[in-house]
């Protein structure tokens, strides 16, 4: 077993299996954005704090800026582009719009992934649980007020 500076990975992204050659140093978020053109996943910091790059990785929430693409060999990844199917928005996406839970929309994809993961595990979260679920997602526009309201509404 020898270390490599690049390698071929097989990943399932939003249900589609993809093979791709990646450099070992390529961050997963740049693989998604630049190589796969899935630009819904965003970059808002360079230290793993902001959560704009949040994806669901092998069923659990993760920040794609703190994973290497090469680590994802064999993994299954869900991004914001995979949430709605056939252009039909999910209840959560509708709730975000109905409750004005987004302004500039930059944190929104990560926020939606965090809320999606929460609601899969907990269909009736308390406000404290909602706030804990999105504590790793920074929003600079909304003060989180309407994001919390939207997630509450989507849980109903």
């Amino acid at each position: 077993m020898d270390p490599v500076t690049s390698g071929r990975i097989t990943v399932t992204v939003n249900g589609e299996e993809i093979e791709y050659d990646v450099d070992a140093r390529r961050l997963l978020v740049h693989f998604l954005r630049d190589d796969l053109d899935l630009t819904g996943t965003h970059v808002g910091c360079d230290t793993g704090n902001c959560g704009a790059c949040t994806v669901i990785y092998n069923g659990v929430l993760a920040k794609s800026c703190m994973l290497l693409a090469i680590q994802a060999d064999g993994a299954s990844i869900e991004t914001v582009e995979g949430l709605s199917s056939d252009g039909e928005l999910t209840k959560l996406q509708h709730a975000f719009s109905d409750h004005h839970a987004l302004q500039c929309g930059y944190c929104t994809p990560g926020m939606l992934m965090s809320a999606t993961a929460l609601l899969r595990d907990n269909s009736a979260p308390t406000e404290e649980q909602i706030r804990k679920a999105i504590q790793g997602n920074i929003c600079r526009c909304t003060g989180y007020v309407n994001i919390v309201e939207a997630i509450k509404a989507a849980a109903k």
Partner: protein
Amino acid sequence: MLLAEVEYVRPKTVDEAIGLLSAHDGARALAGGQTLVNVMKARAASPDVLVDLQDIEELRGVRDLGNGSVEIGAMTTCAQLIGDEAAGARSILGEVASKIADVQVRNRGTIGGNVCSNDPTNHLPPLLVALDASFTIAASGGERTVPAHEFFLGVYLTAAGPGELLTRITIPPGGQDGFTAVTIGRDGSAIVTAAASLNGGARIAIGCVDAVPVRARQMEERIGSDYSDANVRAAAEGLGATLDPPSDVHAAADYRRQLAEVLAARAVVAARERR
């Protein structure tokens, strides 16, 4: 944000991992990556080879050893510590793990990564010192176990040296544990942390006041077995003066001394109150 060139390898067993770590100078074990990848993004560290531990099943999971001790695989994530039944035997573990960073980081970040990075603001090093945990390190020559106070050597520096791998952490029996922290905001980086465990006497460790967790030995002695509020508070007095904490943008040394006294006392009281 952009890493320097690096080589990558993904072994299946501890032996393979140790082989790789010893074969390559500048190799680093990659656990959850929630610290290391960030350090690499800043190019503050640029390991030549990353040995990704994700496939090594033997490093994962929590075991109740039956005698009240708990053994935690180094690749156990913080999220697993929160939900795990065996870890529940020592409820402070899940409680403190749930305070670490955020959901995403807890899902990927591991106990082994947390202690091996030994960032002074990390929650687990002082907790594990207070719990008197022991650390099992595998090397090509075999395994050795070191107590917590010998494990933490400096920032990003532990007893697990080059070519070695922390494989598991063992927590001895107990349960009267407490942890307190002052963080930046509700859930930001820690400014000072304090952990206490009462097990025939108090063991108290303070975080963020030195490169490694600091035992409050004088305070422990003064407390003896009298855990009353008054005695604990009296025992904490003067603790600050024994410390030489750093000054930074979040706290001058004197403020850290003050927090250490207050938080140490509160950690002991919290430990006393735990059921």
